[in-house]
Every structure is written in structure tokens, then in C-alpha cells.
């Protein structure tokens, strides 16, 4: 083709000529020009703007991008767009007919199979192809067929239930009802305690839900980060001259272009710079940021940036790093690389051990695991002409991002708007401010364009902030009757290069051992040590799972030593209500005994324990967690959760505004249930806007399992204020004093004569007519004075604590060491379950995630600190093929501090899993494994060493 026009010459530089292909997508014919290297996923998302298809890994591992190609499911990220010429593609957007959902979509919504929703489009299409082919697919066939579609939230349990329901719908049958016994505490409630589908599930089932990467702003450009390839080095110089010449490059920022301010998560240890100033401390440390017209151009330019590194000795093992003379990551702080040191002693440890009839100690080692939310981190920043920046981001905590940006940019909070989009899973890794959120803001400022930045799956691992690997020396003393007299724990946490949440992680590793069992004497020595590896942070159960794994393992070992049943020794020491722990934590409601009794009964423990054949085993583990931290990371007197409710002028509907974040756990739904119950209206009359710093009031977000209790209390309080105003208006209409009225189920009625009533809507409209906007406000602060007065006493404090017990049954192949987890029986004390279906979803997801960590997950590094398995095919997470049967129960309970009696479930349900599996494997093979993950190699080695 001859190029016309004066710029033909420039344009002819195009080296990759696009090709035009014809493709039918969702019954529409398209002719589009595609680059030879472009994937079908790019064609679908970028060219056709069908953003329901998600990009999870880019390597065909996760299945989030599943579409149907001529009716067959494919990973669209590994199909070239050119290959689909003349073919037919179906995406999630093509599944529903108008407003009528496909039965599979309907079933996924009804059965609670959707949490963060990022896997849902792919999962639903995969299910469709399976049921098209095999309308009566068996459970095993379903689990096998779905195993290429990873879900990190649900534990697949509710997905399987949904598919059974979908099968029934498609075959014209009535789906089986779920057996469910409501809790005593919700008997007189209308909205709370109901198994309601999540508010956002329909959008997530149809591909309409907008995640950050789905947003495309006008004139938007893209940013990428240049990461250090070496683990420890001085930067002598950076030369960006050649890189800046690449056509399409807008700006390249290095350390010299950004403020000197240090940032991080814990104010006591801000130690990260916006871009490396003079030194890099791990493979993945951020050296430069590039903005260009597209990501491809960013990568081209990145290769031309010349960085002169003077390599320094590096250290990767925390116990090595603590030694005198080890390479230091920071010259002027963290002596011996010890980033955090905790030295706690409660009661009298010497006396405690002296009183013990039996003492046992052992060393346990955890694993370095990564949260792996299905959705990679993504952020888009845009500045307006009034020095105000808007950031769209996939975060768990708008408040942290807001606060941290204000510090880094030296701007008032009001000049920064942080909007949380849908979040495709977090599990802790999206709880802190991240490098994309910060650098997109800088790049957008410099270029005047909106800038989108997103991680690849590999970059997610390099950014890190996963679970600290802990080396734990644990010693427990007991009386002959099993009573614990003393506990001594030393934990060394491998911290990686920077602090992140690590101070808190270290304190949690110690403090939370004391909330589950009663013991008077306790010593904890904690060390968090910097190494030249990606920083570690907060991961579901924050700092506690490895100590809990050690404790539950050692407790079972001791039970064997003194000839006591594993559940009996736990019942002997189990926490009780209204107990003050040795480290000054106040337990209120506690149904731990009920959890233990229930899993004993459901699992058939008495018939199985010690009686199963070789290769089969059963084990128990327990856990529990805080229901939100008692104190904020950023010290302030502001209430932790806040809510505003605005009712339409005609009283028809209410909108709840909350700062807390729904990351798939369903908090929007739970808070709406709490507010609706408090107002006296039905669930279909409320909607929620959450986590937008300009629109919603301050909320501390989704971390430390805080939202149900704290956001719930704030939402309930706001609802109560609205109700009071509605009752006052109704009193005028009915000419009856306000005290004699109540509201429920969309009616305002006379308490002792319910037949006399008016509609809630009429009363609300009457209020507006005379009083103006009908608004309610609510806020929640934890009780004052929680915890002791010693250093670090704040970590572990909470208004309420959850309790749980899990029994696990496993089958171990004695020839190969392969473990098959057959069953979990889990019981959780979350007080009142505001939404039992959501609670079960949390517990099932937590159980499977815990199992995945125990059996499969471990980050592997080479001798130069470079991660070797930064993907989802060398770092395996549990798929549907691995899932056991999970029976999750909620025991009756009521937490006086919580809204309608509710407390946490999200993290507490992970904690029992580690010990339960370890104990079950020991029961099966007769040898104990002390380090995670418990792989077939370790099991075989253990079996061999035993037989010697």
C-alpha cells in the first residue's frame, strides 16, 4: 500500500502490521484489525470493550479469561486473535437473554457461589460448556472439568452447590433445598440472619461489574515499573536518554524526580522510598517508572534504561541475617537486620514450667506464601486542574491509601479522592498502599494524562507482601490432667526487605496464642528480620497461622504423651466467656466448647481417632481471631467505621454510604442487612455505596476481620436514627406518641395494636415534607482502654474474638506420599451470622485456602534472591480437583459488642486448618512433619525415617 500524506514516512515505521480478521462475538459479526501477537483476550477486552472477560495470569493458568470458542472453553489469553478468524466466540456478556439470566448465572447468584467475582465469568462459561455436553455431570466430573478455573475465595463448595442447582433448573427439576437451622439470636428479626444473595452478585455473574482494569478513561496512557534485577546493590547511575527517545514514551521517572519522603504501612517504620534513591534491596525493588501510550512501548523503553548497579553482599535467611557481620540492608537502623523485636513475659514462666508434670518443646517452620488474589493489582490516577487527584484502585483499605498519598504528596486529604472499584480478592495483599497507587499518581501529574498501571502475575509476586515464613520454637508445660501451666514461644519472622505490616505481624504472632486456651504464664520472643527478598506483609490470619500450626501440633503431641484425647485436652483448656487473658485481652462471648463438641460429633471422632487403617488419619485444629483491631494503625480519635443513610424523598428506598470495603466477602450486603433491619425496611429497599473517599464517610476498610462488627454497628446506628425520625413523622400522622410506635417490614405500627399502622414509605415522605432530607448517621469506636499498658499491648486487642474448631480426615498414599484431604468438619462461633450463606462462604474459602497453604504453597528463590515460581503453574493453589467435602457449621452465639450479636469469620476460619491437617497426617502415617508445606517428598522421607 502506498502511503499518502506528509507523515506516511513516519507511519511506515510500523513494524508489526495489523491484520484484519472476521469474528462473530456473541452473535454479532466484527471485522477488526489485530496485531499478529495479540491474544484473543486483548481483542475481546481492548478492541471490543467486552470487559466481562478477566485477565488473571496471562499464561493460561487461572481460567479467569475463559470464553467459548465455537462452543468449546478456551483460555483466551493464550489463543492468538488471528486464530479466531472466521470463528464464533461467546463471552459472559452473551449468556443472558436481555434481562433474563441464564439458569447457571441464576444458580451462582442464589447459592452464594460468587464472592470477589473475578473468576465468575470464566467459571460460569466453563460450567455452561460442561452442562451443554453432559447435562447430568457427576460431582467428580464437575470438579475435574472446573479444575482449570481457579477461585481463591469460595473453596469451590458453593460453586458446586450452584452447579447442582443449575443442573436441576436446566433439566426442568426443582433444586434441592439446603438444610439450614436458623440461630436462636435471629428468631425475631426480618432481614438479619437471612441467607440472602449478595447485592453485587448479579453484576458479577453477567460481566457487568467494573474492576479497575475495566476502566478506560479518555486520553488514558499506561505506566510500568522498572524493577531491580539484583537483590542488593548501590545504584551508581541511571541513564534514561535512549529510552526517552522511543516513540510514544511520555515520561520516565527515577529516584531523582520524586520526593525524598519515606512511606510504608506502620508509622513506626516508614522505610520505603517512592523510587529507589541510591540502593535496591531485593529483586523487584522499584527503580524507575515509565508512562507511554501503551504497555508495549513501556516495555520497549524499559529495556533501554541503563542502570549501573554496584552489587552488594545479600542475605536471604533470617537466622543468618541476625548474625553479627551479616550484610546489612539498612546502614543506620535495624541492628543485625532485626526490624522488630518483641519481648513479652506474662505471669511467671519459670514457676509455670516448675508446676508442670510434663513439658515438651519442638521447632516448627512455616512457609512463605502469597495471597494470589485472582485479580492483579491495578490503579488509575487522574489529576484535575485544581490540584486534585482521583485514584481508582483495587484496594481493601481506601483510608490507608488516602492517608499515605496525603503524606507522600504533601497535600490535604481533600485534594485526594480514592475510589475503590470492585476488588477481585485481597486476603491482605491489597490492605496496604502499593507502588502502583503511588506511581500512577506521579506519572499522571507529570504527563497531564490519566495513567493506568497494572501488575502482571509475576510482578505481583515481586511486589510481595505475602505471609512471613516463621521459625518457631515452642515449649508447653501441662499438668497430668492436661491443664496448661506455661507456654514459651520464640518466633523468627523472615521479613523481606521492608517493614510493610511486619511490626504488627510480629506482635500478632505472639499475642493471639493467648486467646484460645487459658494459660497463666506465657513468654514470647519475637524477631522480625530483614532479608534481601520481597517484603512480607499481612495475609489472612495475619502473623498467627504459623504459631497456631505449631501450637495445635504440639498440643496434640503432648496429649499423646500423657495419654489424653486430642479434643479432651482442648476442652480442658478451652477459653471461656468473659475471661481476661494473661496478656490483658478481654474475651466476651465464647462458644469454643460448643465448636469442639459439634465437630467431635459431626466427624465421628470417637469412632475414628486412632482407629483408622494406616494411610488414613483424622486430626483436630482450632483457631480464632480478632473482630477488628482495637486501635488504628494511624493513631487518631476518629471512629473506626462510619455510615450515612439517605432516604429518597418519597420514602421508597434508602442508600447506605459506608467507607468500608467489600472485597468479595460481602460486606456491602451484610451492612445493608444491618441497616435495613434497624430502619424496619425490607432488603429490596436498600442499596449501598461504599469506599469512595469523597462520597462515603471514613471507614478503616477490610482488614483484621473488622467490617461486620465495626461497619455493622455504624450502619445499625445510622438505621436507628432514620427509624427514630420516621417514627416521629408517623406519630404526627397517626396522632399517637412516638414511644408507642415501632417499625418493621416496611410498616410503622402501634406497638400494642399492630393493626393500626401506616406504610414506612408514607411516614418517611411525611418526614421529608416537613423536616427536609431524611438522613441518619452512625459511627463506631471500640471501647476505650482495651488491652494492657506494656509495649505492644495494642496488638491483639479487639471488641470481640471468634472461635473455631476443625476436624480433618486425610488419606495418604504411603507409596507416593500424596495427601488427599477427604473431609473437613468446621464449626465457627461468629456470634450471630448476619448472613449465614456469606459466613459459610467465608469459612469454606478459608478452609480451602488454609489447606492449599499447608499442602502446596511455597515461594522458591534461587541463590540470588530471584523468585523461581512467580506464576500459577509452579506455585500451585488448590483447584476444584483438590477440594475435600467441607461441612461448615455456625454454632449458636451472641456477642454483646457486635451488631445484633455478630462478630468475625473471615480470618479466624483459616487458623484451625494448619494444625488439623498436620495432626491428621501424623495420625495417618505415624510420623510428624514439622515444616510447611507438607509435601509428598517430606512425607515419604518421614515414612522412610520411621521405618528405619
Amino acid at each position: 500500500m502506498t502511503k499518502k500524506g506528509i507523515f506516511g514516512q513516519i507511519l511506515n515505521r510500523f513494524n508489526k502490521m495489523k491484520h484484519i480478521i472476521k469474528v462473530n462475538v456473541n452473535d454479532t459479526d466484527y471485522e477488526v484489525a489485530v496485531k499478529p501477537g495479540a491474544a484473543l483476550l486483548e481483542l475481546i477486552r481492548e478492541e471490543l470493550n467486552l470487559i466481562g472477560t478477566k485477565r488473571g495470569c496471562g499464561l493460561g493458568d487461572c481460567g479467569a479469561c475463559t470464553v467459548l470458542l465455537d462452543g468449546k472453553p478456551v483460555n483466551s489469553c493464550i489463543i492468538l486473535a488471528l486464530e479466531v478468524n472466521g470463528k464464533k466466540v461467546q463471552t459472559i456478556e452473551g449468556l443472558a437473554t436481555g434481562e433474563t439470566l441464564h439458569p447457571i448465572q441464576q444458580a451462582f447468584i442464589e447459592k452464594g457461589a460468587i464472592q470477589c467475582g473475578f473468576c465468575s465469568p470464566g467459571m460460569i462459561l466453563r460450567t455452561k460448556s460442561l452442562l451443554d455436553e453432559k447435562p447430568n455431570a457427576t460431582t467428580e466430573e464437575i470438579k475435574h472439568d472446573l479444575s482449570g478455573n481457579l477461585c481463591r475465595c469460595t473453596g469451590y463448595t458453593k460453586i458446586l452447590e450452584a452447579i447442582e442447582t443449575a443442573k436441576a433448573y436446566l433439566n426442568g427439576e426443582k433444586p434441592k433445598d439446603i438444610e439450614f437451622q436458623p440461630q436462636k439470636s435471629v428468631m425475631n428479626l426480618s432481614v438479619v440472619g437471612k441467607r440472602l444473595p449478595k447485592l453485587d452478585a448479579p453484576d458479577k455473574a453477567t460481566g457487568r461489574a467494573i474492576y479497575t482494569d475495566d476502566i478506560r478513561l479518555p486520553n488514558m496512557i499506561y505506566g510500568k515499573l522498572l524493577l531491580s534485577p539484583v537483590p542488593h546493590a548501590q545504584i551508581r547511575s541511571i541513564d534514561t536518554t535512549e529510552a526517552e527517545k522511543v516513540p510514544g514514551v511520555k515520561v520516565i521517572l527515577t529516584g531523582a524526580d520524586v520526593p525524598d519522603v519515606k512511606w510504608g504501612t506502620s508509622p513506626a517504620r516508614y522505610d520505603e522510598t517512592v523510587l529507589a534513591k541510591d540502593k535496591v534491596r531485593f529483586v523487584g525493588d522499584v527503580v524507575a517508572a515509565i508512562a507511554a501510550i501503551d504497555e508495549e512501548t513501556c516495555y520497549k523503553a524499559m529495556k533501554l534504561i541503563k542502570v549501573d548497579y554496584k552489587e552488594l553482599p545479600a542475605v536471604f535467611d533470617p537466622e543468618e541475617a541476625m548474625k553479627d557481620g551479616a550484610p546489612r540492608l539498612f546502614d543506620n537502623k535495624y541492628e543485625n537486620n532485626i526490624n522488630t523485636r518483641v519481648d513479652h513475659h506474662f505471669g511467671d514462666i519459670e514457676k509455670g514450667f516448675a508446676e508442670a508434670d510434663h513439658i515438651r518443646e519442638a521447632r516448627f517452620v512455616g512457609n512463605r506464601t502469597y495471597q494470589n488474589p485472582l485479580e492483579p493489582h491495578c490503579a488509575i490516577a487522574e489529576w484535575d486542574r485544581h490540584n486534585k487527584v482521583t485514584l481508582y484502585t483495587s484496594t481493601q483499605v481506601v483510608h490507608y491509601v488516602h492517608h499515605q498519598l496525603s503524606r507522600i504528596l504533601d497535600l490535604p486529604l481533600g485534594n485526594i479522592r480514592v475510589i475503590m472499584t470492585n476488588c477481585g480478592g485481597g486476603f491482605g495483599v491489597k490492605a496496604a498502599t502499593n507502588t502502583l497507587e503511588i506511581l500512577s499518581v506521579f506519572l499522571a501529574k507529570r504527563t497531564g494524562c490519566p495513567v493506568k498501571m497494572r501488575f502482571t502475575r509475576e510482578e505481583m509476586y515481586l511486589y510481595g507482601r505475602g505471609r512471613h515464613k516463621q521459625y518457631i520454637d515452642l515449649k508447653i508445660g501441662v499438668k497430668n490432667d492436661g491443664t496448661i501451666t506455661a507456654v514459651k514461644q520464640k518466633a523468627v519472622l523472615e521479613g523481606g526487605a521492608y517493614s510493610s505490616f511486619g511490626i504488627v505481624s510480629t506482635y500478632y504472632a505472639g499475642s493471639m496464642l493467648a486467646t484460645l486456651y487459658k494459660f497463666p504464664n506465657y513468654k514470647f520472643d519475637g524477631y522480625r528480620v530483614n532479608t534481601n527478598l520481597p517484603p512480607c506483609g499481612a495475609f489472612r490470619g495475619h502473623g498467627c497461622p504459623h504459631p497456631r500450626f505449631a501450637f495445635e501440633s504440639l498440643l496434640s503431641m503432648i496429649a499423646d504423651d500423657i495419654g489424653m484425647d486430642h479434643i479432651d485436652i482442648r476442652k480442658k483448656n478451652a477459653m471461656e466467656p468473659e475471661y481476661h487473658t494473661c496478656n490483658d485481652l478481654d474475651i466476651h462471648s465464647c462458644e469454643f466448647q460448643a465448636c469442639l463438641d459439634l465437630v467431635r460429633k459431626k466427624s465421628g471422632w470417637n469412632k475414628k481417632k486412632g482407629k483408622l487403617p494406616s494411610g488414613r488419619g483424622i486430626g483436630i485444629g482450632c483457631g480464632g481471631f480478632v473482630s477488628g483491631a482495637g486501635y488504628p494503625i494511624y493513631r487518631s480519635k476518629f471512629p473506626h467505621s462510619n455510615a450515612i443513610i439517605k432516604v429518597e424523598e418519597d420514602g421508597s428506598k434508602a442508600v447506605l454510604f459506608v467507607g468500608d470495603a467489600d472485597i468479595g466477602q460481602g460486606s456491602d450486603t451484610i451492612l445493608a442487612q444491618s441497616a435495613a433491619e434497624a430502619m424496619g425496611i425490607s432488603f429490596d429497599r436498600i442499596s449501598v455505596i461504599s469506599a469512595d473517599s469523597d462520597i462515603t464517610p471514613l471507614g478503616f476498610g477490610a482488614y483484621s476481620s473488622r467490617v461486620t462488627l465495626m461497619g455493622g454497628n455504624a450502619s445499625k446506628m445510622a438505621g436507628e436514627e432514620v427509624k427514630k425520625k420516621v417514627l416521629s413523622a408517623a406519630a404526627q400522622v397517626l396522632n399517637i406518641s412516638e414511644e408507642n410506635l415501632d417499625a418493621k417490614d416496611n410498616k410503622v405500627f402501634v406497638k400494642d395494636n399492630p393493626e393500626k399502622n401506616i406504610s414506612w414509605q408514607e411516614a418517611a415522605a411525611a418526614y421529608f415534607s416537613t423536616g427536609g432530607p431524611l438522613v441518619g448517621k452512625g459511627h463506631y469506636s471500640p471501647p476505650e482502654g482495651l488491652g494492657g499498658t506494656y509495649k505492644g499491648a495494642a496488638v491483639g486487642t479487639s471488641p470481640a474474638y471468634s472461635f473455631s474448631a476443625t476436624v480433618c480426615e486425610v488419606k495418604v498414599d504411603m507409596a507416593t506420599g500424596k495427601v488427599r484431604v477427604l473431609n473437613f468438619w468446621d464449626a465457627h462461633d461468629c456470634g450471630t451470622a448476619i448472613n449465614p450463606m456469606a459466613v459459610e462462604g467465608q469459612a469454606e474459602g478459608a478452609v480451602l485456602m488454609g489447606m492449599s497453604e499447608v499442602l502446596f504453597e511455597d515461594e522458591v528463590f534461587d541463590h540470588r534472591g530471584k523468585i523461581l515460581n512467580a506464576d500459577l503453574h509452579n506455585y500451585l493453589i488448590a483447584s476444584s480437583a483438590d477440594m475435600p467435602l467441607i461441612d461448615s457449621s455456625i454454632v449458636d452465639g451472641y456477642e454483646p459488642q457486635g451488631p445484633f450479636g455478630a462478630k468475625e469469620v473471615g480470618e479466624g476460619a483459616t487458623l484451625p486448618v494448619f494444625g488439623a491437617i498436620a495432626n491428621a497426617i501424623e495420625d495417618a502415617i505415624g510420623v510428624r512433619i514439622y515444616d510447611l508445606p507438607i509435601t509428598p517428598e517430606k512425607i515419604l522421607k518421614a515414612i522412610k525415617s520411621k521405618s528405619k
Binding site: 506516511g8 510500523f14 484489525a33 486520553n219 494524562c449
Partner: protein, 158 residues
């Protein structure tokens, strides 16, 4: 209808897009390249809201068929700012309160930009002629003419 590929240099960024012969440059800018600063006012070349600079001339992009633009250099309002700073014309429009509803503004700025490229310090009549194809229903044009005139006087043409 046969789809064809065209290449464009828009605001100094290279693009290759597939277009139908009946699509307009306006369609491509707004719907395909996401440059929504250029506005759709009448679609028959009467209002000027869609004005862009094409190979140095102000054109109504709604009247240019996309294949006609193949190989062209285009500038839209998004290309006016440099490194996050206003172009003098934009600053002058703000100073003179020449932006009301703002719908004609991008096209108006493009016409003014071309005028100042072609003629230093244009007369008031010259300015009026140059923007005669750009309709504004809010301002009565007076503030716009003054805004452009100011920039012309200062000689800040680029």
C-alpha cells in the same frame, strides 16, 4: 461492507485501526481511540464542535471519512496541553471566562490554534472569520474573541 486498515498520527501517537468506509474521523477519535474531548454536535459539519487539526488545517471531523484520513497527522484538544500544563490559548480562555457549557470549547480551541499558526496577531475580524464555523450558544462570542486576540497579541502561537 469491507473493513480497511488506516494509520493515523494523533497527538504524536501512532495508531493503526480497522475502519468501515462509512465511519468518520470523529467516530474513530471518540469511539476507538477514546479521545472524547472532540465533541459530536450536529454530524453535518454545521456546528464545529468536532473541529480537529488535520495536516495543519482545521476540519470538521464529522465530515471526514476515516479512510480519507489515512496517513494524516491529527491534533485534538487532548494534544494541546504539554506535560500537564495549559496551552496559552486554554489559559486565555479561562482568564476571559470564555468557557461556559464547554461543549464548543474544544473545537473553538482547535480553530483558534490553526488561525494563530497561520497568522500572527490576527485582527478581530480575522478571528471572527476563523471561528465563524464554530457555533457557541452560551457566550455571545465576545469573550472567546478577546481570549484569542490576547494570545495573538502576545505572540504565543504554539
Amino acid at each position: 461492507m469491507k473493513t480497511i486498515k488506516i494509520q493515523l498520527l494523533v497527538n504524536n501517537n501512532e495508531y493503526e485501526v480497522s475502519v468501515s468506509p462509512n465511519e468518520t474521523l470523529l467516530d474513530i477519535l471518540r469511539e476507538r481511540l477514546g479521545l472524547t474531548g472532540t465533541k459530536r454536535g450536529c454530524e453535518i459539519g454545521e456546528c464545529g464542535a468536532c473541529t480537529v487539526v488535520m495536516n495543519g488545517e482545521a476540519v470538521n471531523s464529522c465530515l471526514i471519512l476515516a479512510p480519507q484520513a489515512d496517513g494524516s497527522k491529527i491534533m485534538t484538544v487532548e494534544g494541546l496541553m504539554r506535560n500537564g500544563e495549559y496551552h496559552p490559548l486554554q489559559q486565555s480562555f479561562l482568564n476571559h471566562d470564555a468557557v461556559h457549557c464547554g461543549f464548543c470549547t474544544p473545537g473553538m480551541l482547535m480553530s483558534a490554534y490553526v488561525l494563530l499558526q497561520q497568522k500572527q496577531n490576527p485582527t478581530e475580524t480575522g478571528i471572527k472569520q476563523a471561528i465563524a464555523g464554530n457555533l457557541c450558544r452560551c457566550t455571545g462570542y465576545q469573550q472567546i474573541v478577546e481570549a484569542i486576540g490576547d494570545v495573538g497579541k502576545k505572540g504565543e502561537t504554539d
